[in-house]
């Protein structure tokens, strides 16, 4: 047993924390989310220069050959600083699918550019009425000569507006399959929008988009296990990000309790608020433990069921903690917590969204119960 970061992980963590402190304080973030595109290319370049984009990819393509555990500190810092650039959509989903399902040729074509920060890859999967069910795909892929014709509509695709490539899930006669599509492909349109947590996402409409035969990622009809594995990987990273956001919420609230004065004393002297703060701290520690479990299992579990159960448990616990900590931190800030100008209200929004991304507490509790012990 060892919960410490190794030397490389610590170096990466320090680098990200330095970057967040220097270039991504709340004011800098505000400028970025209010800009037209809602993300910063120079931030992305810095992330690439720090080597963060290569962490979970093979050294063969310039990566670091690591896993979720190596990304934990990075995700923690992203959560704490509320970084909006599409790190998780690219590293945890889009490019991760290419790495796990793609051929050597596809790896060579995509991964080095991703790692260098030259291209971003999104994953377009969720559809209307699918909720959190990964198997609900009705987008069609029909064979045409030696290529494919894609038709359908994908919702809430994280990082879509700035993506260069999009991995699209679609149903062929053989089953659910993955296709690597260029964002400029004729017939593909993106309707971009801001999300509650000020990230940019979009709906991706595929109107008879033609792609060549080599756009198929992996074996025709065999995508579900890869989609599940990659989604679990992304959930583990999201849990780590949530932990950073929760820490930031707890720190800010604790600081507020120690400084805000009412009735001639700091409000932290009221025992009822002390206990509430203690419960928030307990929630955080429990959540952090589950993030460790999820990251460790997505890296090392040899059994799919074992991995899925750990991830479901972690996401359940983290969704509950997100809700608890975010709500309490606003309440204990009083009116100030409600305002746009305080970072805590933005952390609240991020935690609220994390609780519902890739499955809410109900979904993962049910999933946990449905998997064999």
């Amino acid at each position: 047993m060892n919960f410490d970061s190794n030397e490389t992980q610590q170096l990466l963590a320090d680098a990200v924390l330095r970057f967040a402190a220097k270039d991504y304080d709340f004011e800098a973030r505000k400028r970025i989310v209010q800009s037209a595109d809602g993300w910063s290319e120079s931030v992305w370049n810095t992330i690439a220069e720090m080597g963060l984009l290569g962490i979970p990819f093979s050294a063969d393509y310039g990566g670091f050959g690591g896993g979720a555990a190596d990304l934990m500190n990075v995700m923690d810092a992203i959560g704490s600083a509320l970084i909006v650039e599409p790190f998780l959509p690219t590293v945890g989903l889009g490019a991760q699918l290419v790495a796990r399902a793609g051929s050597a040729a596809q790896h060579a074509a995509i991964l080095p550019s991703v790692i260098e920060g030259k291209i971003k890859v999104a994953f377009a999967h969720t559809e209307k009425h699918a909720r959190y069910d990964l198997s609900k795909v009705s987008t069609q892929a029909t064979k045409t000569g030696n290529g494919w014709n894609l038709h359908g509509e994908k919702l809430i695709v994280l990082g879509a507006p700035m993506a260069d490539r999009i991995v699209v899930s679609a149903r062929t006669v053989a089953g659910i399959s993955l296709f690597l599509v260029d964002r400029t492909a004729p017939g593909l349109t993106i309707r971009p929008y801001r999300t509650l947590d000020e990230v940019r996402a979009g709906d991706v409409v595929l109107s008879n988009v033609r792609v060549s035969g080599d756009a198929l990622l992996g074996t025709d009809g065999h995508a579900p296990p890869v989609i599940e594995a990659v989604t679990d990987f992304a959930i583990a990273l999201l849990c780590a990000e949530a932990v950073g956001a929760m820490k930031s919420a707890n720190d800010a609230t604790l600081e507020y309790l120690k400084t805000r004065k009412q009735f001639g004393v700091t409000i932290g002297t009221f025992q009822t608020l002390q206990h509430r703060m203690v419960d928030m701290m307990v929630s955080y520690e429990q959540a952090k433990s589950m993030a460790c479990l999820a990251c460790s299992k997505v890296d090392h579990a040899t059994d799919v069921n074992d991995r899925a159960r750990a991830v479901a448990a972690a996401k359940f616990r983290i969704a509950e903690a997100c809700r608890h900590i975010s709500q309490e931190s606003i309440q204990l800030h009083g009116g100030m917590g409600m305002t746009e100008e305080m970072k805590i209200s933005h952390t609240f929004r991020r935690l609220t969204m994390i609780a519902q991304q890739f499955g809410d507490a109900d979904h993962h509790l049910a999933r946990y119960g449905s998997l064999a012990e």
Binding site: D133, T195, G264, Q327, T352, D360
Partner: protein
């Protein structure tokens, strides 16, 4: 024991319900049910419709336009408005400033302000809270210095709801800082928002909405005749208002309406091929809040009954309505957001065929916004302190 309304009360309820159905303009109904922004005009239009029907101020004395309704009728009326989805009645004039004037105002003040409040000619706001004085209101610092027949007021108010719509503000200000008890030395004063030296600055809340403001006073000259009650006796006025009428703080009617909408949504949303309302986990949460709401409604009726029999409001226990009522409102907004699953994410209507429409995109911001309900009007912690101290003697 009889939990039912009397025949007369039922007839009254039906009358109110039918009138609301016929007289609530469709565009307002739709705005309210779609959670759209309500403008000053929207709010005043509804106010004037009620004023024309002579239903705008049921609790006022009859000679000023009140309706002589029983407490139960008043409750029924408010709950029916909530259930029908009328624009909210902005309380600052009708339900806050007016009762103060009836109790403490001079005849001249009553004549000057009450008819205009009734007709919706003046829009009022409430200037109590300050940056350093929220829960601890008695520590307020905005100063009013008497100079001849004026007070000169300097300081800052914060969280002033709809100050950007308001013609008038009623304020608590410090007229004497030499008193040993902080509650003494505070005065209640009415201020014309057009007076030179007043600046209103918006405070945007986390749902992006502009409802509250900071109001700055820089040597604002207010005529002495705008003082209500005696100088340095403003705390008495404020306390009277706090204890005055808190029978609708549970917002039962509005929550019932939201519950209906939640059920509609849960019937439409599909989970695992079935309507979400058939999902046991979701269903349990939905019914749990429904039962809690039923309990609160009956608690509210018990308080009303007590008030009817004794003529006295049930004191600190009324805080139960604020605590549980806001918790229910918050749970309802949270379940609405959870009901739509991943579609809760867009912050602006996308308007795609398969994606998120304007209504859906309001649900998560609304959840955010409703966190305020356990903070404002005496935070739920302060409400619990009140019960602990006043009801339980702790």
């Amino acid at each position: 024991m009889d939990l039912n309304y009397s025949a007369d009360e039922l007839a009254f309820r039906d009358e109110v319900r039918a009138w609301l159905a016929a007289n609530l303009p469709n565009d307002l109904r739709e705005k309210v049910s779609g959670y759209a922004h309500l403008s000053r005009d929207d709010l005043l239009r509804w106010h004037k419709i009620l004023a024309k029907k002579a239903w705008i101020a049921p609790a006022w004395p009859k000679e000023w336009g009140g309706n002589d309704w029983t407490v139960v009728q008043r409750y029924i009326f408010e709950e029916e408005c909530g259930y029908a989805g009328t624009p909210p009645l902005i309380p600052f004039g009708i339900a806050m400033c007016a009762p103060v004037l009836f109790k403490f105002g001079t005849e001249a003040q009553k004549k000057r302000f009450l008819p205009r409040i009734y007709q919706g000619e003046d829009f009022w706001c409430q200037g109590y809270s300050e940056p350093g004085s929220g829960s601890d209101l008695a520590s307020l610092k905005t100063r009013a210095v008497r100079e001849g027949d004026h007070y000169v007021i300097s300081g800052q108010k914060i969280w002033t709801t709809l100050a950007h719509y308001a013609d008038w503000i009623f304020c608590l200000v410090r007229t004497d800082s030499s008193m040993s008890k902080r509650q003494e030395g505070i005065s209640f004063i009415l201020i014309d928002m057009q007076t030179p030296g007043i600046t209103v600055r918006p405070l945007i809340l986390m749902d992006g909405g502009h409802e509250v403001n900071e109001v700055f006073f820089d040597n604002v000259k207010v005529p002495v005749e705008n003082l209500v009650f005696e100088e340095n006796k403003g705390w008495t006025v404020a306390k009277y208002l706090l204890g005055h009428e808190r029978m609708n703080t549970g917002r039962i009617g509005a929550s019932k309406r939201e519950l209906v909408k939640l059920k509609d949504l849960a019937r439409k949303e599909i989970k695992d091929g079935k309507p979400l309302i058939e999902d046991m986990r979701f269903r349990d949460k939905l019914f749990r809040v429904e039962i809690e709401l039923t309990a609160l409604e009956i608690t509210n009726l018990r308080f009303l009954d007590q008030m009817r029999r004794t003529g006295q409001p049930p004191g600190a226990d009324v805080s139960i309505l604020k605590i549980r009522g806001t918790e229910i409102q918050q749970t309802l907004t949270e379940l609405m957001m959870q009901a739509i699953g991943p579609l809760a994410q867009p912050f602006e209507a996308v308007g795609s065929a398969g994606g998120v429409d304007a209504y859906t995109s309001t649900l998560a911001p609304r959840y955010c916004s409703y966190r305020k309900t356990s903070i404002y009007a005496g935070s739920n912690e302060i409400q619990r302190n009140i019960i602990a101290k006043m009801s339980l003697g702790l």
